[in-house]
């Protein structure tokens, strides 16, 4: 796609700090003693447990089966015994059920399914079923089951597949390294997705601060008739709506899905996982994660198994040199702050980030001086400052009229606010209240 990408309105340019880990090749993490696999890793219904305490499992063996269409199965990250069905602190701070596996040290492979080597001739339905069976969810953020996105409902057609390699979050380099080192796998995954959707081509969008990744992808992309689109650096370039607009010029209507403008967006890591599932018969049990931050001795990118405790990943990075102010899962703009090191890596954990005391943002909530920075940078073109006032006064009806529901929670407004107002949190609150109100109405 040679035509220039469109620029969406708004956006911010935070210091990306990617240099900490962008030159570090992906390393394979060693096998740990135990893994705690969080049960519910996808948006939608939780999977149903098929093992019990004391069972032995092989690496890749089924731990839980899909609990409905909007659900994906869960597989064992290594071979060993099920020590307990317990609870661990989840990424949102609330304890969640998990399956604890004690490794037997053998790491014995026992995949539930065979590779499909002839993917070019295989039935697309079979490929789609494989993606479901492999438990693949959107690995860039929310954990939306991939097979659901690949199954447009009756009456909706898909004409564009966009692969998100923007990685606009500062600090994170996992997707960057993946595109650079496993370009072929990524492109192959895109080709498989293209085939499932019955399209001719797919577009990989990459921010132009990763020229080496674009080059690597371009080398192999032609072979599979995939195009690579270089995108300007502007946070949140990787947000679904902004990405679709940049590449196709289509605006996803507020409250609607990319499907409604005939697009499917997937992450590059997801594409790589699709390749592994189809060509190697490997379920979704590991992912590339950036472990980074200034307090770390040796930040870098690791291939981590699902269920690895965060404390182990920090050990991999050599531990810390100073006490960080925050521990985040994900990037600094949308990541979730943790208060425990027991949280484990999930299918959508793109980064483990330690933020140093001197670069942390503290919310002090001074009064709004109406400077309009948030208004200028909002990629959804709503009025954060006004909505914030409405929420502060519990006027959720007013917030709704001001289109708070269009907010994508990218955090650009809070980032730019000179008064350090917790705008993003207020909008989340408003959205929760408005949805609760809607439910009440029925």
């Amino acid at each position: 796609m040679s035509d220039k990408p469109r620029k969406f309105k708004g956006g911010v340019h935070p210091n990306d700090s990617k240099a900490l880990s962008s030159r570090k090749a992906i390393k394979e993490a060693p096998l740990f003693d135990s893994y705690k696999v969080i049960m519910h890793q996808n948006i939608g219904a939780p999977p149903e447990l098929v093992v019990k305490k004391g069972d032995t499992v092989k690496k890749g063996g089924l731990l839980a089966k899909a609990g409905g269409f909007m659900s994906v199965p869960l597989h064992a990250p290594t071979s060993g015994t099920i020590k307990a069905i317990d609870k661990v602190p989840g990424p949102t701070g609330i304890s969640v059920p998990c399956i604890e596996i004690t490794s037997d040290g053998e790491d014995e492979w026992g995949s539930p399914f065979e590779p499909i080597s002839d993917w070019q001739t295989a039935d697309p339905a079979e490929l789609k079923q494989r993606i479901w069976d492999a438990g693949i969810v959107g690995m860039g953020g929310a954990g939306f089951p991939v097979h659901v996105k690949l199954s447009p409902p009756e009456g909706k057609t898909i004409d564009t597949l966009i692969i998100n390699g923007a990685e606009c979050e500062p600090y994170l380099t996992a997707d960057h390294r993946l595109m650079l080192e496993q370009a072929e796998e990524v492109v192959l995954g895109v080709a498989i997705l293209v085939r499932i959707l019955g399209l001719k081509t797919g577009v990989i969008g990459v921010e132009n601060n990763k020229p080496d990744a674009i080059e690597a992808l371009n080398k192999v992309a032609g072979k599979y008739n995939i195009t690579v689109q270089s995108l300007p650096v502007n946070y949140p370039q990787g947000a679904e709506r902004q990405l679709i607009y940049s590449i196709t010029g289509r605006e996803v209507p507020v409250g609607k899905l990319p499907m409604d403008v005939n697009c499917v967006v997937q992450n590059v890591a997801t594409a790589a996982a699709v390749t592994e599932a189809v060509l190697k018969g490997q379920p979704s049990i590991e992912r590339v994660t950036t472990v980074t931050g200034k307090p770390l001795v040796d930040p870098g990118n690791w291939k981590l198994r699902i269920g690895t405790p965060i404390s182990k990943t920090i050990e991999l990075a050599g531990g810390i040199t100073e006490q960080p102010a925050k521990l985040l899962l994900g990037g600094p703009m949308m990541g979730i702050a943790q208060s425990s090191l027991d949280v484990t890596v999930m299918k959508n954990t793109s980064g483990v980030l330690l933020i140093a005391q001197d670069e942390v943002s503290q919310y002090t909530s001074e009064p709004c001086i109406r400077c309009g920075r948030c208004v200028d940078c909002c990629p959804m073109q709503i009025l954060p400052a006004t909505i914030s006032q409405a929420v502060e006064n519990k006027r959720f009806d007013w917030a709704e009229k001001l289109n708070v529901m269009a907010c994508i929670e990218c955090g650009s407004c809070s980032y730019s606010c000179p008064s350090h107002r917790p705008l993003n949190q207020q909008f989340k609150r408003a959205k929760v209240e408005i949805r609760a109100g809607l439910r009440k109405k029925g």
Binding site: P14, N15, L31, F32, G93, P170, Y245, V252, P253, V254, P295, K312, G318, G319, I320, Q323, P324, A325, K326, L327, P332, M333, M334, A337, Q338, S339, S340, L341, I355, E359, S361, Y363, E366, P367, C368, I369, R370, C371, G372, R373, P379, M380, Q381, I382, L383, T386, N403, A406, E409, S412, S414, Y415, S416, C417, P418, S419, H420, N424, Q425, K428
Partner: protein
């Protein structure tokens, strides 16, 4: 299997802060913004001191100190945290000084500082909540209360160390044809401290726009409207009305357009709103200048438009990205 090495240090979870995303923030703080505006005002401040000497310095210092003291005194009285460090009181003080005559008596400065900070700002709850520009509340209050003092202007003299008590009329008070654009650009004309040097104000305004601290739409629409309206009047009756250049360069127009109408708290937040706001300011300024009983209308115009801001904000709510009009029949 990983080996536990004692040298590897892990974070102490008890010291980890949890908060909502984002966890980074941009550099500007209220404090930095305010001091940048002060810095942008520096050329005009220097020009004022150059032309009016120590008297100007005295007025500026008095206003600033009284603004800061008024704000802090109020905070103490109301048991609110100290706020002068955010720089807004200092900025208001300097702006107030710029709005006064070099020979203004000390009590005018103190009263002005009190009016601006208490009546204009703190009664409404402090920074961010005031609907009217505090400096203009003070200036207009003083103008109405002490019209004699507030409309007497000392004659500027380049390099003078003290004012000589000779008063001069502001260019707008003179008959058309008696004024010189060159003098007005440099600042060799009568008026309040901030009205003197148009050039210095333009430099400051350019800095503000370059730093994205003000919306460029406001000064452009403001000055443009004044230029067009006074231009039309001048073309029709050159013997009655000044040329538009005189109107733009004289009086508090540049000071008002760059430093006071653009006050973030009291101007609209959207760019569309800024156009309307600037246009309204320009229109009212021209009306008052051409036909009103006051020679100068900038303060009144901005104050009036401040009152309109809530309505402008209300009517310029923009459509979000991907907005589609609700289909008919949908609630």
């Amino acid at each position: 299997m990983s080996e536990e090495t004692p040298s590897i240090q892990l974070p102490d979870p008890a010291k980890l802060v949890v908060s909502n995303s984002p966890h980074m923030r941009d550099k500007p703080t209220i404090n930095k913004i305010m001091f940048t505006v002060v810095a942008a005002m520096a050329p005009a401040l220097i020009a004022a001191v150059l032309f009016f000497g120590l008297a100007a310095l005295e007025v500026l210092a008095l206003c600033t100190v009284s603004c800061v003291l008024a704000e802090e005194g109020w905070n103490k009285l109301m048991k609110r945290p100290s706020t002068w460090k955010d720089g807004s009181a200092i900025l208001s003080g300097l702006l107030l000084g710029m709005n006064l005559n070099a020979g203004a008596p000390w009590w005018i400065c103190v009263l002005g500082g009190f009016l601006a900070m208490i009546l204009g700002k703190q009664l409404y709850g402090g920074l961010g909540y005031n609907p009217f520009n505090p400096v203009l509340v003070a200036r207009v209050g003083l103008l109405i209360g002490f019209p004699g003092i507030m409309t007497t202007w000392d004659k500027p003299e380049l390099g003078a160390m003290a004012i000589d008590g000779v008063t001069a009329a502001t260019p707008l008070g003179l008959a058309p044809g008696e004024t010189f654009v060159q003098d007005m650009l440099l600042g060799n004309v009568g008026g309040c401290l901030g009205e003197t040097s148009a050039l210095a104000l333009l430099v400051g305004g350019a800095v503000l726009i370059a730093c994205k601290l003000i919306k460029w739409e406001v000064p452009l629409a403001f000055i443009g409207t004044v230029f067009v309206i006074t231009g039309i009047a001048h073309v029709m009756h050159p013997e009655v009305y000044h040329s538009p250049f005189v109107h733009v360069l004289s009086g508090g127009l540049l000071l008002g357009a760059f430093f006071m109408a653009t006050d973030m708290v009291t101007s609209p937040m959207t760019h569309k709103g800024a156009w309307i706001f600037g246009f309204g300011c320009g229109l009212i300024t021209s009306l008052i200048r051409l036909w009103g009983s006051y020679p100068e209308g900038v303060s009144f115009a901005i104050l009036f438009m401040n009152a309109l801001v809530p309505l402008i904000d209300r009517s310029t709510i923009r459509k979000p990205f991907g907005y589609t009009a609700p289909a008919k029949g949908e609630a």
